[in-house]
């Protein structure tokens, strides 16, 4: 069995930031990543990030991933295990890990869970046809492997992911037939919406997908309008000839490890599903288990990086590391997170976070 001071589960923006934060303060860290590369969803993001210039704003997502990877490489007290999938969390605090088709056991004094999220699905007729992809899949094919994911596509969802992936699709030469959104308003940033609109892509709010048709793969989509009660309006059906349908209808936190560890969980729709209760240092109801990023509530990558840093800082501090600047840095992170979430686009997140505070 391997032992370490801090185990970080997940090598995306939150996990990388947590490992860097704890590792740079001197703690002995193991970072687990189930894929064979670090960076999580950041590596697919070709757009420049929003947020504060201090926190990578203006830098493209995949470049941020490179920067985080470079920083982690320099920390000799951080051991990175890729292609290593955390399988279970046991009563005695042991985490089992599958790597190279072998089971490994790791026991850590503190565990930071940063497992991210998975994509939501949508009920409609024939939604199991090949050619109906989550937005992350489209990004993976297109931006990781350089494969044209479609010729003509329908995007379902006008949140930031739907808008950004539509733009990326056009950068890859794919025609976007339309972006449809069930809500009466565009959910993503309006600058992203304006960007795809001036490329000629219609955004249809109060619209949903009713059915997909095709033999062995999508050949056609039927969309329709929704009334104020979110019901289909008969007679408003429109057929779109598309070979692919992309679903960008939200994410849900990946929380299996947290359930196994018996962290107290709560269902918060604003945060995407079940999330753990935690205190101001991101420690869950199980002492020594911290959370950060989308598995603690679905948000933007910038918030995930800040949360990761906070969790890493707190876990390291509880082991006696980084006392010199703990308070100061903690204040900075908390302020930056507050600023990030303080505007109207942070309304939902703030409402969600108000429900998850442990001890409050």
């Amino acid at each position: 069995m391997k032992t370490t001071e801090i185990l970080v589960i997940g090598g995306g923006p939150a996990g990388l930031s947590a490992a860097i934060s704890a590792g740079s303060r001197g703690a002995k860290v193991i970072l687990l990543e189930r894929d064979d590369f670090l960076g999580g969803q950041l590596i697919k993001q070709t757009h420049r990030f929003f947020g504060s210039k201090r926190e990578h704003a203006g830098t493209r997502g995949f470049k941020i991933a490179e920067d985080l990877k470079d920083r982690i490489k320099k920390l000799h007290n951080v051991e990175v295990m890729v292609s290593a999938r955390a399988l279970g969390f046991y009563e005695d605090g042991v985490v089992t890990v599958l790597k190279d088709e072998k089971m490994h056991k790791i026991k850590a004094e503190k565990v930071i869970v940063a497992t991210g999220a998975h994509e939501k699905f949508l009920p409609f007729i024939n939604n199991d046809l090949p050619g109906i992809y989550g937005a992350g899949a489209v990004q993976t094919l297109m931006n990781v492997y350089g494969i044209v994911p479609a010729q003509r596509i329908l995007m379902v969802g006008a949140g930031n992911i739907g808008l950004i992936v539509s733009y990326q699709l056009m950068q890859a030469g794919v025609e976007v037939a339309a972006i449809i959104e069930a809500a009466p308003r565009i959910g993503g940033y309006l600058v992203h919406a304006s960007k795809v609109r001036r490329m000629g892509v219609p955004i249809l709010t109060r619209h949903t997908i009713k059915a997909a048709y095709g033999t062995n793969r999508v050949e056609k989509a039927v969309i329709c309008q929704l009334d104020d009660k979110w019901q289909h309006i008969p007679g408003t059906e429109q057929e779109l000839e598309v070979d692919t349908i992309c679903l960008a209808v939200g994410l849900s936190p990946l929380t299996e490890i947290l359930w196994q560890a018996e962290c107290e969980m709560i269902f918060v729709p604003e945060l995407g599903g079940h999330v753990p209760l935690r205190d101001e240092n991101l420690e869950t109801s199980v002492p020594g288990i911290y959370v950060a990023g989308d598995c603690a509530g679905v948000e933007e990558a910038t918030a995930a990086m800040l949360e990761g840093e906070l969790a890493g800082l707190s876990a390291a501090y509880s082991l006696g590391y980084g006392e010199a600047d703990f308070k100061e840095r903690r204040e900075q992170i908390v302020t930056n997170l507050q600023n990030l979430r303080s505007g109207p686009v942070g309304d939902k997140i703030r409402a969600g976070l108000a429900k998850v505070r442990r001890g409050a």
């Binding site: 757009h47 420049r48 990030f49 929003f50 947020g51 504060s52 210039k53 704003a57 203006g58 493209r60 056009m170 950068q171 030469g173 009466p184 308003r185 565009i186 940033y189 309006l190 600058v191 992203h192 919406a193 304006s194 960007k195 795809v196 609109r197 001036r198 490329m199 000629g200 892509v201 955004i203 709010t205 910038t302 600023n339 990030l340 979430r341 303080s342 505007g343 109207p344 686009v345 942070g346």
Partner: protein, 164 residues
Amino acid sequence: MLESTGVPTVEDLKARMPSKERLARGPVAMIECFQRIPCDPCYHSCKRGAISKLIDINDIPQVDYEKCNGCGLCISNCPGLAIFVLDQNYDEKYGLIKMPYELLPRPEIGEEVVALNREGQEVCKGKVVEVRDGKIQDKTAIIGVAVPKKFLMEVRNIKVGRSK
């Protein structure tokens, strides 16, 4: 409207437009950012201090049109690709719009392109007179397109005829 279509209304635009007098004096930036979102790279990119410091990172950036000389440094730095530089005095008949461009193929200087409005509809033909696509732009190229003066406030995108 903007919230359901992604296209700003005349009223939205009025609030973000440099004055007629300022436009008449030559190149100036127009930031088509209408929503409070947490973002500040434009402020940091301006070397002349023409973009207001954002006290709250969600504030909408304001341009001091007297300080702005239309250099265009901010164009490639805006993550929303929402900044344009307008030069009404490009020549007698034509005005110049500098816009961010992240598609292939890149237009070339002298090339005729289709000029599109904020809904992606064809407005007129435009002539590419400037392409800045160096290290500073970091793949968000700045394309300067000359269009008839009356379309200066309408044209916000281009379509390059050639295929990749």
